[in-house]
């Protein structure tokens, strides 16, 4: 059967799978419909993507994919578009097809104008060709799940290969100028590029932290010199040997005011003018996410005022600084995936709590989606917690490893509770919190999903696919 004839049954089967998977309570059905549809029509991604009248945009990188793509989605909706978006972090090939299938009606017509796809950094080459994106957003590259991806240089190399084959004029590359490894890929692109970055040295964290990755110039192997480091290896860098330096950002955050877990405010400087913006997203790392989304939407022709309004009205993705109320207490859920992200989350929590006041729940799993190798825990600067938390509950499949890491970080065993059972750990953390005092919950990805399920069963949160 020619592949176009297979399209209708593939879409129908895919949609039926989504309905069935929810009816059978198998979960959100965020990837299975795509797997089914692709089995029927292997070329389905290309065919459905080609039906989107305004093409599609791809967001990739280690951290910030979900928040950035959700921000873009939200801003484009405000601008009157109907975006097709793989939500809930289903960012491998099957998740992308699932989103396309769900936004195609039973007769094969697109029910959207433009695709916004967050794409796993290692999956980018596989989906690039069928999606033919008009813009790609490169957020950052950190060590993450080394057992799955190999090494970050390899990922950067794959991106480079993908972009090299792209005729200039067909894709705009929007990239994080503050990340030397990403910049090295982005700035080389022959077509249009939009570098974004922070232009306020007061956001600096001082020196390079232990988790920093790209300390050495890609070309010379000489250590970069930084005039300012924001976090991880993000900052204003220069190679003393070949002179490679941070590109001047076209979209920049100036006069940044960090307000702890309440978010931040800054002047968004763009070629179209400057707008004052506020976001509830906390931490310096979220400023990069806002800049990435703003750069992308401006590039797609959204007016600056709409972008600013979108940033202000945006509510965070599940597990990304989401707040949950339970028994008169508040829990703040902060997803942690890798050392640089974890350090930023810890710093944000420490800024928000008084000395020795905080209650923190850390849940570490080592399933495939978390990364099976948990050695990254030793690259996180948990030392900043020592003497600064009143109660620390440790949970997840690798609770014992986490507890040992905290012991070496100087956290007293008297403030630690170890319980691999997440449900009991949640209760212990809530119990430790005095009234009005928030509990900071720091889970890895699958621990977050597990916790969501527990909270959902207790009627405290909705299923994430319902959002």
């Amino acid at each position: 059967m020619p592949s176009t004839l297979r399209l209708a049954p593939a879409v129908i089967l895919g949609k039926a799978t989504a309905v069935a998977s929810r009816a059978l309570r198998l979960g959100g059905g965020t990837t299975m419909p795509g797997r089914v549809a692709r089995a029927v029509a292997p070329d389905i991604t290309r065919q459905l993507a080609a039906r989107l009248p305004q093409g599609c945009v791809v967001v990739t990188g280690t951290n910030g994919k979900t928040t950035t793509s959700r921000l873009i989605h939200h801003i484009l909706q405000l601008a009157g578009l109907r975006p097709v978006h793989n939500r809930a972090g289903a960012n491998l090939a099957a998740g992308i097809v699932t989103a396309l299938v769900q936004h195609t009606d039973w007769r094969g017509r697109a029910r959207g104008d433009i695709g916004i796809f967050e794409v796993d950094e290692a999956t980018l080459p596989a989906v690039w060709d069928p999606l033919q994106p008009r813009a790609v957003v490169l957020t950052n590259l950190f060590r993450d799940q080394l057992d799955r991806y190999g090494e970050i240089d390899i990922v950067a190399g794959r991106w480079r290969a993908v972009l090299d084959g792209r005729p200039p004029g067909e894709t705009v590359v929007i990239f994080n100028a503050d990340d030397p490894l990403v910049s090295d890929v982005g700035a080389k692109f022959a077509g249009t590029t939009v570098p974004f970055g922070i232009a306020d040295a007061s956001c600096g964290a001082g020196t390079l932290e232990h988790a920093a990755d790209a300390r050495y110039c890609y070309r010379c192997g000489v250590a970069y010199e930084y005039t300012v480091v924001y976090f991880g290896h993000m900052g204003d860098y220069r190679c003393p040997q070949c002179g490679t330096h941070r590109p001047q950002p076209l979209i920049a955050a100036e006069h940044v005011e960090l307000a702890g877990l309440q978010g931040s405010g800054f002047a968004l400087r763009t070629p179209a003018g400057t707008a004052q913006v506020r976001t509830v997203l906390p931490g310096v790392y979220n400023i990069h996410n806002v800049l990435a989304a703003a750069a992308c939407c401006l590039q797609l022709g959204v007016p600056l005022q709409t972008v600013a309004r979108g940033v202000e009205t945006f509510a965070p993705a599940f597990g990304r600084a989401e707040r949950v109320r339970a028994d008169g207490r508040e829990a703040v859920l902060l997803l942690t995936k890798n050392p640089a992200g974890f350090n930023e989350v810890l710093r944000t929590v420490m800024r928000a709590t008084g000395p020795a006041a905080g209650v923190v729940l850390i849940a570490i799993n080592d399933l495939t989606a978390d990364g099976r190798d948990i050695s990254w825990l030793w690259d996180v600067d948990f030392e900043m917690l020592a003497g600064h938390v009143r109660s620390l509950v440790v949970s997840g499949i690798r609770a014992d490893d986490m507890a040992l890491r905290l012991k070496h970080a100087g956290v007293s065993s008297t403030v630690m509770t170890i319980d691999g059972n997440l449900s009991r750990a949640w209760d212990a953390a809530l119990q430790a919190a005095r009234n009005g005092e928030p509990v900071y919950v720091l889970p890895t990805y699958t621990a977050m999903l597990q916790l969501r399920k527990i909270l959902q069963q207790r009627g405290l949160v909705k299923g994430f696919w319902e959002e």
Binding site: R143, L146, D147, G150, E151, I152, D153, H210, A212, R215, Y216, G221, A223, D366, L367, R372, D373, I374, S375, W376, L377, W378, D379, I397, R398, A399, D400, D401, A403, L404, R405, K407, H408, S413, I418
Partner: protein, 247 residues
């Protein structure tokens, strides 16, 4: 009593939480009242021969490994050769382990000449070959038959020569090459292994063994006091369970 540690390439070879090994060595010595001095030795610097009791080197990506290999031969060889001769301890993990051998041949066929302190050679069978990745358990007869737990992630296959004995026998996982069930290599007081996780925090018996050897090289025979290892042993057991589970 004091212990002098030299951390080789702390910012270049630090791929898999390698600093956890330094923490385990330093803390387990300090918890027993031993003074610990850690000196970091980076690219372009030569450690003074005789100045350290224990040398540690971690793993890195290919690019970092190329930088380290040349520097090792030019700047570190003298101090490390001297260390082996006087019975100081050298511990190297993953990429560092490969560089202690005779050579490492990369996936592209490029050859990095190592220090030859361990009688091993390492070859990467090519870009299409499978990386050896996963939880690993090793049994070490010379450590009272104890298990060592960790995680491995390497493309290179290491073969032992007649003058190196393995660190242990693979119980679960791949080890040196995924074929002969050997893991790591030991020769005199030089230890190389693919186990990270990091290696030392969850394997306190090995850590104490290395501390004893390192201290003995300058202070004579010593007996280390025992410590409260409940968290260490819980993490060790959890890793044993994890290595044999399917999910």
């Amino acid at each position: 009593m004091d212990l002098r540690i030299c951390h080789l390439y702390p910012d270049l070879l630090n791929l898999y939480g390698d600093r956890g090994n330094l923490m385990a060595l330093a803390h387990r010595a300090q918890w027993r009242g031993i003074d610990v001095h850690v000196e970091e030795s980076r690219l372009g610097v030569s450690p003074a021969p005789g100045a350290h009791d224990l040398y540690f080197m971690g793993g890195g990506e290919d690019r970092q490994q190329v930088l380290a290999a040349a520097d090792l031969r030019e700047r570190k060889r003298e101090a490390l050769t001297d260390a082996v001769a006087r019975g100081a301890v050298v511990l190297a993990v993953c990429g560092g382990y490969q560089l202690l051998g005779h050579y490492y041949r990369s996936a592209e066929g490029e050859e990095l000449i190592g220090l030859g302190l361990l009688d091993v050679t390492t070859e990467h069978p090519g870009p299409q070959s499978k990386r050896l990745v996963g939880n690993i358990v090793v049994r070490s007869p010379w450590l009272g038959g104890r298990t060592l737990v960790g995680f491995e992630n390497h493309g290179g296959r290491t073969r032992l020569g007649p003058n190196a004995r393995p660190l242990g026998t693979v119980v679960t996982g791949f080890g040196n090459n995924g074929e002969d069930r050997t893991e790591g290599a030991v020769s005199r007081n030089v230890y190389g292994t693919y186990l990270h996780g990091p290696l030392l925090p969850k394997n306190p018996a090995l850590t104490d063994h290395l501390l004893t050897l390192a201290l003995r090289s300058r202070h004579g025979p010593i007996a280390l006091a025992s410590l409260d290892d409940r968290l260490e042993l819980a993490a060790h057991s959890a890793a044993l369970v994890r290595a044999t589970s399917r999910t």
